[in-house]
């Protein structure tokens, strides 16, 4: 299946990736080749087959609803590219 440049740009926008024009071109070619290769799955009849999202996990696990210590703010913020007080700072989004 051949991906158009427009589709590549749409997927890149969903993935929050700002691609260069060269990358758009390259990915259109490479992703089309990979999608062609995975198309063989369409030949299998899987109508009645249950999907497997985890090989060994049968059910969601719940733990006791008990408060326990978590990372203190100074450790959580230690790697932040920008911070204000005990918050992560981001560019202004409302004018």
């Amino acid at each position: 299946m051949a991906l158009t440049l427009e589709q590549v740009r749409h997927v890149a926008s969903l993935a929050r990736l700002a691609l260069t024009p060269e990358e758009e071109q390259r990915f259109a070619t490479q992703l089309s080749a990979v999608l062609d290769a995975v198309a063989q799955l369409q030949s299998l009849d899987v109508e009645t087959v249950e999907p497997t999202s985890h090989a060994t996990l049968a059910a969601s696990l719940l733990r006791q609803d008990v408060a326990r210590p978590s990372l203190p703010p100074e450790k959580s913020l230690a790697n932040a590219p920008a911070k204000v007080g005990t918050s992560f700072a981001v560019p202004k989004i409302i004018e």
Binding site: V8, T20, L44, H54, N79, P91
Partner: protein, 491 residues
Amino acid sequence: MQLTDLTMLELARKLASGEVSSVEATRASLERIAQVDPQVRAFLRVDAEGALAAAEASDQRRKAGAPASALDGVPVGLKDLFLTEGVETTAGSRVLEGFVPPFDATVVRLLKEAGLPLVGKLNLDEFAMGSSNESSAYFPTRNPWDLTRTPGGSSGGSAAAVAAREVFGALGTDTGGSIRQPAAFTNTVGLKPTYGRVSRYGVIAYASSLDQPGPMTRTVADAAALLQVLARHDPLDSTSASVETPDYSAALEEGVKGLRLGVPREYFAQGMDEEVEASIRAALREYERMGATLVDVSLPHTQYALATYYLIAPAEASSNLARYDGIRYGQRAKDARGLKELYSLTRERGFGPEVKRRIMLGTYALSAGYYDAYYLRAQKVRTLIREDFLRVFRDVDALLTPASPVAAFKLGEKVDDPLSMYLMDVYTLPCNLAGVPGLSVPCGFTKAGLPVGLQLLGRPFEEALLLRIARAFEREHEHFRRFAPLPAQGA
């Protein structure tokens, strides 16, 4: 005989008898790194100070007669995908350059509690995406057996460091073969445990339903000893299995007499290198000679595994890697106008081509209109692949297959052809989709002197049996005694 030539357990015995100290062993490891790593380039970071401090503490415990474990004092290395408190961790990516984790991964904590000095962080394909170490944002690691070739990936740094005897053992992670394929390329033992057997807490996620940490060592007995430290239920990882940890070394020497070993015909398909196939066939005959019964079996959905993997893994990766947005850690694009541009520019500059390719593929497979046709269908085929395994394991005790269709290939050979690179994982990734354990053990060499690995696949949580089967072969053919042709220590 140099100190770094010893296996983990040989060193452990010398530490126990007082013949050698952990500080001496750790210094020997650091000297070996200084000597050979400029060629091999396995390490992204060496933590000499941290390792020597841990070694001194270990020697104190030994003196007090209270070692923390059987491997107390044995220096090891870590793939740079494991969070290490206070030591930079990058996952081989620019996006995490400068990131210093505020806590340890559970397996790192377990290694520290068991007293193993952690010598440093080992190179990998960026976010563990790759089969050759060439997608690392920093530099490719070289195969100690031939410096013009790849050590495999993505745990290629770990494999190369063990094969070059820079460390006595290492940890890797395996999502589609990232422990077993580099082990096969470097004459080392690589074990991917059953999914859930070893905690993933603090291991930087690639594809959460497939990733599994495991030991990379020179011998099977070392792999058993290292797994003994790592295999624990972890309440911090909701997918960690709540099963008891057996004694992995207990039955190691019991041999294979009477075992039924399956040979899946789909794993001996076209495209396998002739010398690799000859080496694997010879290993199969050896098992027969040792008293095992070889059984011809079929895993009919094997041909669909590659396609299934390259939909499921990128889909999970596209979700997991959404966290690299320049807000909480790592690099941030400084010139972005507005929040959305900050995300997309940070990610554009931080990620390398292979990571972008997989994010794009995964985002596409999960997007509206394509979810059912790609992602959901792949999950259904995954069920068929898993059922294939569980069905044959009713008749046989384990499976014997090649670990890789070829021996180590040249650096640069496949880097521009993603599909041909993906084919390198064709024998290893069905095991991850099914969640069963897999191991690669050295089984011979090509005429050019490149290692070949035999892959063993087993029933869920039967790592002990896989180790025993691998050990039976290793006892007859001590390939681990043959060293990669690097300069000897002190040369």
